[in-house]
Amino acid sequence: MLLISCPWCGQRDESEFSYGGEAHIVRPPDPDAIDDEAWADYLFFRTNPKGEHREQWLHSAGCRRWFNVVRDTVTYKISAIYKVGETPPSQENESQNNNQSEQVSK
């Protein structure tokens, strides 16, 4: 039962949230320009690290906003929480070609 700090609502129990998988999966801006393999990479392949994972969470039983979390997949320790569009903490390996830099914030 994680304790998660929603950026808008504060600390809440994990049961108020829904998990959204890996964060920063950016939709390819020109889908026709990439081949099936690259498109499949965007659709289906995720990094699944043993260690720090940047992922999305939704405060589904609260403010219903999405935000990002850096969580260790082994210890479950959350080391950072940041809003969509904010700079994520730096990460060692940026392997995918569609893990582009942070989105334009509004």
């Binding site: 950016v26 889908p31 210890t75 969509v84 569009g85």
Partner: protein, 1007 residues
Amino acid sequence: MSRSASRLAMGGRLKRDKVISFTFDGKKYKGFEGDTIASALLANGVSLIGRSWKYHRPRGIVSDGAEEPSAIFQLEEGAFTIPNVRATQAEIYEGMLIKSTNAWPSVSFDVMSIFGVFSRFLPAGFYYKTFMWPQKFWMAYEHIIRKASGLGESPRLPDPDHYLRTNAHCDVLVVGSGPAGLMAALAAGRSGARVILADEQAEFGGRLLSSVDRIDNQAADDWLSEVVAELTSMPDVRLLKRSTVFGYHDSNFTTIVERLNDHHSIKNRKGAREKVWRLRAKQVILATGAHERPIVFGNNDRPGVMLASAVSSYVNRYAIKLAKRAVLFANNDGAYQTAFDLDAAGVKVAAVVDSRKNEDGQLAIKLNALGIERITNAVVVNVKGRSHVRGVVVKALASDGRSVQGDARAIECDLLAISGGWNPAIHLLAQSGGKAKWNDAKSCFEPDLVVQKQRSVGASNGTFSLAGCLQEGMEAGLESAKLSGFEVSDMNVPTVNSTSEIALEPLWRVPSHHKPWLGPKQFVDPQNDVGVSDIYLAAREGFESIEHVKRYTALGFGTDQGKIGNIVGMAILAEALGKTIPETGTTTFRPNYTPVSFGAIAGPEVGNQLFDPVRKTSVHTWHEENGALFEDVGQWKRPWYFPKSINGRLETLDEAVNRECLATRNSVGIMDASTLGKIEIVGKDACEFLNRIYTNAWKKLGIDCARYGFMLGEDGMVMDDGVTVRLAEDRFFMHTTTGGAAGVLNWMEHWLQTEWPEMEVYLTSVTDHWATAAVVGPNSRRVVSKIVEGIDFAKETFPFMTSREGTIDGLPVRVNRISFSGELAYEVNVAANYGRHVWERLIAAGEEFNITPYGTEAMHVLRAEKGYVIVGQDTDGSVTPIDLGMSWVVSKMKDFIGRRSLSRKDCLRPGRKQLVGLLTVDPSEVLPEGGQIVNAPTNEIPIPMLGHVTSSYHSACLGRSIAMALVKGGLDRMGETVHIALADGRMLPAVIASPVFYDAAGERQNV
């Protein structure tokens, strides 16, 4: 223990003025308030209390706590029956009904004990290797084998109790109220911190409850009373007794089950049976103590063989003279206290058998003074007696300690107390993500890595001296209070006159001149009948991981979860593999620490019909009053059909549906469509947003116009569909399927918030705000125009796929001319609170046209006749719009979610399953939905599968059956015959046809 065991006239912590009668295996006994089932039986001289799981060997009480492997009973009968109750933890109450398990006809004469004779042929995993021939009899063997084993029975009646659940926070949680836990709670409590102290027992004190130690120059009992009184007086300290912390999760979230009523007789119980605390603590102190472990030797499972500390507990705490003659067998100093306790209670201690070679010290002198013989460098190799200990066989150890030598010596006794050392109870530490390390000097696992805001103290930290426990507890309490933000002042550690020392030399199993699988069986895990031979067998067969050995032998299964046998078992495995103990490792600890009732976990949901919400439309009661039967669609109750009375009986489903369909197509029907998802989409970028999430074009949609929208996942598969109406330049009203509404809203929000935050679009769920009555059929216009004001319903002014606003009785209504049946139809939307009123007005207006309410079944038939798909019925997440033959809905001019995937190789390959219609050759046969489709009946195995029937009905309008199906390459096979395999073995022929069976030109809705 034996017939000679009896209650001592004085002493113990019982309420001797409260006599309790109970029944065990049909016989009546008496005990006192404060007795557990185990102590009460022992005091009454009962020793044989059960038969083991597999071999049906006679078993007795072994311990005084959660680690008990053998005294497992069935309580009560009927709705109140509970299986797998540990006699050592259950408090007796007046009228308690207790039965032993796994023995027939009785514990003392058990027919199944014949299994014991064949035990050599029934080792661990025997059922994987035996009873395999002939193969088809395996299920019969399995049935018999299962009946021959197992402990206890599940209740067959609903739970009569109710359970509570509460959320709580505190500064410091202290788990365990032995000396370490008490000091921790005291230290933290005195600082003003909010403290919760939880203990699984009915009294606080832990080991102090059976101790003869002196603390601060008073008896442990008196010191204990003072401490508990002080803790009780503190307003910010909550004391939870009979409360087990059974789970330790992330961020110091723990779950505690508080047993409120199980210690009262059934008729005196009031209120909830149990309460689960869901607790978040700033700091946690684990003072969970340690479990004494046995030594393994031949026939060490006989009734009358008990853990030494348990013997002391039954003597001191429960005032029982356990036997006439006792022997103590130990490898450590601490166990000697048991010999002294027995002697003080008048039991003749025939000998202390010590496996160590050590010289005489204080303990030896004390034994000598009491006239107790001490035999060092020796071990007990076997136990005499079957239904009770009659004596022990002792042999000397060879100089290398790895074998026995010399003559066997028999010592008569009716009690054997054993002690192999102590295992810190590190279960919660491990659950919390912490790790333990093997301490060679102490021969135990100790806390090593801690990842949460937590500390372990006392015996659970490998600190076994009373002085050490008090010290550590105090320090942890002060530290935890400080970290929680409270000021602490110095405290004095109480002084101790403890006689226990715990110097120890490891001895896991007594060496034997027999091979492990010969000679008297040496039990490691008595509850699962796992012996040394089974562990050696597992090692021999290649199971080298302790996790595999556990599953293969069943070591550590059951109610005690290895509390008594796991460490010993692991050490024996290490020996069998020639590895060290750290190399062998232990299995993982998971919640629950001890068994927790299902009711406690379910909490207020036990028996709750509303566990999943039931959603009803505002017209629901009208449907009920008019005889509707309902079906569940998601959480909603939707009218399924409205059977009428004909000839004194109720219509069948088929009769009702046929009537509803014919009435609708011939005149007018009315259906409650309120459950469909409804989402308002507003903002300057709303239109562009629709363009991106729907497959078709939206930019040119006029105001008050409607369009059918098709939604795909990014993988190109059909996700949802529905009609969306444009109400203004920047305002759209989207319909979704009933079951898909929440998912579609979440889907759209996800895209807007994370991918396109620059778009200005606002989404609002309005599903519950509107009631919708669909008025359907050639007379629908006549009905609605009778009562709706402000709308001109003429065909030219109110065309198909448009929307108009008007009023009914002054109530604003929005009418959408859309159709899911192919007939002229209008959906009348009004604020939900007026749903029933508008419905009744429509019914009255339609009476002259025999307006017929219809449900989901008729709705399904009507749309199927037109070949309209239902997402989730005709699609399953693996179907694209092209597969459905709906290329017309896919725009070629713009990008949208899922478009790129439609050109993936796999989406373009020939032979994909495609949606077609099926017409059975015999029109009276209705295909089963889900029916598997093949080309022709054949003996070829496996027979190539082509797809399945997705929707299938009898069509009253067409006078024959119709079906839709997904068939490989179906769109190129029009007119061909395929076969559908039925469960009764028949193969029904059907012709592939267009799924639009009725009014292919679509004329009926254009009137």
